[in-house]
Symmetry: C2
Subunit: 103 residues, 2 copies
């Protein structure tokens, strides 16, 4: 009953709210994830080198996905991540960049 089985749900960009984005990025670990996706491109969950437990990281990826910040899909045993930057920038111009530039 455990493990990786739930279908991956991604919100439509139109349904993403400012509250969603701000709450998602109001966490340093999640900002690091987003920053790394911008700097080094799409990557599997296990390649972020962050000092948190795997289950904690999983929680942050889920938060980012459900907030509409990232898109995830499975490739073999890895789960890939990409930032939905074009969509986000259309919906909230400059928001992600300005937040990331702020610290």
């Amino acid at each position: 009953m455990l493990g990786r089985w739930t279908p991956l749900s991604h919100p439509e960009i139109a349904d993403v709210t400012v509250d969603d984005v701000l709450r998602a990025l109001a966490d340093p670990t999640r900002r690091k994830i987003v920053r790394l996706l911008i700097a080094e491109g799409d990557r599997p969950c296990g390649t972020f080198g962050l000092p948190v437990a795997a289950s904690t990281l999983s929680h942050h990826f889920r938060s980012l996905r459900e907030a509409g910040l990232i898109r995830q899909w499975d490739e073999g045993r890895k789960r890939m991540n990409t930032l939905r930057l074009d969509e986000l920038d259309t919906r909230f111009p400059g928001l992600v960049d300005t937040i990331l530039a702020a610290d």
Copy 2:
């Protein structure tokens, strides 16, 4: 022992973090407060016409003050509020405006 007696504490702008600002603005009621301060200038707490209990409003003003977003001082029986926009914009260029423009 209750009432308005605590000394008003305001963080130095250098001690304000991005997390502080994002968490403060990740609430629609607080964004409305900030928007009104920009649109109509410094005002006492009672003049915002928001659909929440007075104690809830007080909680939001305190959040904004402790996050470094607003400055408060007392004038007679009113408590005045001003947005620390110049300071915020020096520390986090464009951040507040971009967030407010996003919704």
